[in-house]
């Protein structure tokens, strides 16, 4: 198990090095930020001075070397635009993103799992059909459209929820649902198929023969075993929510990390893009690692194989 973990950690570090190298090259291919920092009327001398001041006059391999060295020392650099440490920007935005991600994931699970269970139990029935419609809609409605419709209905027509911005729990509901609906549909489908498989197992038949109450059979014996793939999927989803909520964050004017990265791409703020992607990829890779560990912990067969291997 220890060897397995060490291997996975090394893989994770290697993946992160690849990610930062790709991001470093791509950001520099996209244009010089000095063009946006100066007025179009600025002289070539102003342009050269600012380029030098930002260290962008050095050859790319030198810039790359400095960048990697600084990261190893925990220094993500300063924003090209604000000249504030990048880590401050990330720290400022990460709570909003985590807050949205957590609530969206909770909503996904709370909606997706019960509907998935009942859909499996009432297979072919009205509820199952309705659940399938719910799933198809959830996976086919574009988040920007759904978000705007929710804003229009709950914010403008009913006036019961804020139309955008970050504030209390009320501000969270619409963006979290927009973000979570797509995945709740996926969780519902996964729970349904997993439950269908589990409900056909011998131990479920045995539990029923023993005369256990149907709810206990379903929720205690059935769901507990069916949840394994759902949990792993949900953890990965959560990590995806952290970086993949750009559309939702933009529509709801939610000041999260995804929007910060998007804005930094448009302003060529290399250090923020690099650090943001690095943080998100680190979270993703760590999430993957945790899922693997969780899986091997939940499923003794996997643990045995890993240990044996």
């Amino acid at each position: 198990m220890v060897a397995y973990l060490i291997g996975r950690v090394l893989q994770t570090l290697l993946s992160m090095l690849v990610v930062i190298s790709i991001v470093f090259v791509l950001t520099r291919l996209s244009g010089n930020p000095v063009n946006l920092l100066l007025d179009v009327n600025a002289t070539q001398r102003d342009f050269d001075l600012l380029t030098r001041h930002l260290g962008l006059d050095k050859p790319l391999p030198v810039q790359y070397g400095i960048y990697v060295k600084n990261i190893v020392q925990g220094d993500f650099g300063k924003s090209v635009l604000s000249r504030r440490p990048v880590i401050e920007h990330i720290r400022e935005r990460l709570p909003a993103t985590v807050e949205l991600g957590v609530v969206a994931m909770l909503l996904s699970v709370l909606i997706g799992v019960p509907i998935g269970v009942y859909s499996a139990v009432r297979r072919g029935g009205v509820l199952d059909s309705a659940a399938r419609v719910f799933a198809v809609l959830g996976q086919s409605l574009p988040p920007f459209w759904l978000g705007l419709m929710l804003i229009l209905f709950f914010g403008v027509i009913l006036g019961v929820l804020p139309a955008g911005g970050r504030g209390g729990l009320q501000h969270l509901l619409l963006p979290a649902f927009t973000l979570g609906y797509f995945t709740s549909a996926a969780i519902m489908r996964l729970t349904r198929s997993s439950m269908l498989e589990v409900l056909g197992a011998d131990y479920i038949k045995f539990a029923r023969l023993k005369g256990l109450h149907e709810q206990i059979v379903l929720w205690k014996h059935g769901l507990k075993n069916a949840l394994l793939p759902v949990i792993t999927f949900a953890v990965l989803l959560f990590v995806q929510f952290l970086g993949g909520a750009v559309v939702t964050e933009t529509v709801f004017a939610w000041p999260g990390l995804g929007r910060l990265i998007l804005e930094s791409i448009t302003t060529r703020d290399y250090p923020i893009v690099q650090a943001g992607v690095l943080v998100l990829s680190a979270l993703y890779l760590i999430g993957n690692l945790l899922v693997d560990m969780l899986y091997s912990w939940l499923n003794p067969k996997i643990r045995y194989r890993s240990t044996a291997g």
Partner: protein, 536 residues
Amino acid sequence: MAWRRCCSVLIVVVLAGTLGVGLASAQQPQGTLTVAVATFGNERWLAHLYPGAEDVVLKPMMENLLSRDLKTGDLSPMLAERWEVLEEGRAWRFSLRKGVQFHDGHGEMTAEDIKFTIASIAKEGSANGLAPEFRLIKSMEIDDPYTITFRFEKPFVAFGNKVTQGLFASSAFIHSKHYIETVGEEAAERHPVGTGPWKFVEHIRGDRIVYEAVENHWRAVPHFKRLVFLKVPEPATRMAMLRAGSVDVIEIGGEYVEELKKVGVRTLTMPNVAWLCVLLGGQWPSKSTYDPTVPWALPDAERARKVRQALNLAVDKQAIMQQVLGGLGSVLGSWLIYPTDPWATEALMRPYPYDPPKAKALLAEAGYPKGFEVTMNLTAWPGRGYLPDVGEAVATYWEKVGLKVKRRPVDRAVFSADFRARAYSGVTLAYAAPLVGLEPWEFLIRAGYTKATGGNLFIEHAQLDAFIERLSTEPDRAERVRIVRDELGPWLYEYVPGVAIGAVHTIVGAGPRVGDWPLIPGHMGFHNWEYVTHGR
């Protein structure tokens, strides 16, 4: 009698007390005014760090030496209560208002602060759009703490327009020398200080900027206690937030005007804030990037002019103004002239007609009977999101007269490098020049004066240089008006530098909490927040 006198005194005391309380509460800022804008610019607050797009969010907190009159648009006092133009424009003397305080007790504004700010804008490496012009200052003399004189080698007759709050972008906001030198630039960036009617409270980058009213401000005590700017990039969200009452004011493009009317949202129009045209890149024969095969920049001036004329006649400007800009603007002929200008004659305002058959004939006369290939850059600029749509519409009209148009969606950051280096010969783009000076030649210094330190972005011509030199050194405004009306305007009309579309307006969506809002004519971008009253 004594009783009567006593009663009278009592009534006077009660009335005075009531009135006094009434006045105090009327002047007491109340409530929050929340504004949703698409961008905060680069979000830099020191004079040498903002290129200009921060104008909208800096204006509440900062002030300039001068402003502009709400009715006439003429220069008016602000931090300077008087100014004199001396030595035929070679010197400008400003007498400062006494007792104007920087926020949070950072002292009185004096001539030292003016000198410090202007020097900071002019220094090498400055990002401020006024840097090239402020480098023309030969000396800054502080006669006493409230008087400063700027001296120039040559007359700088429009210097007042560079230090006014009444234009976009007013980049010469006055900063506190003492504060910045005491706390350092980094700390001053985190907590900027100005003399405006609103003081800084909080800035969360890319999310919000919060200001609080200065309750005893020398010029105007705001009606609202707090002013909050939210960055909401998506226009549909901004509209929904306004309709839901989450915000009180939104920045919105003219293309949404009909939609706003349909849902009953109140709109305010800011008229004649920018001049819309299509730039034809490559008209710079003295530069190494000049390409003599570009049809509108041929060495044969008459053939090139026919091509430029054809490109104008091929475009239905009225339809673009109506369909793309929601009718918010006026189609005009001669360049950089607004209908309210003193030099705007009927002849100069007359648009080039929409005449595709004549356009085809002119192309044939110029040697292009089958048209030619052209690139149209589709680039959005801050606050002018409609430009790619204008470019697309123009491209479609050009195709109808036989041109083969290659659309090139390109980001501003990428194109800016070409723009600066004039490396876009043969490339065209829709552009809206904001009203950066009160006289058209002020913009032409940037766009087409070969001796400018920066600028000279798309055209060069000896005649244009001569006009700019005459106008920029002519101290008599009446004479400048005459030159523009009778000489420069007609010359531009005949020369046809590009595709003239006209003057455009912009709109503001305002909610029920917003009452009166006096706006300066021709000022692009939000301003005058301190004068916004509560809605009834």
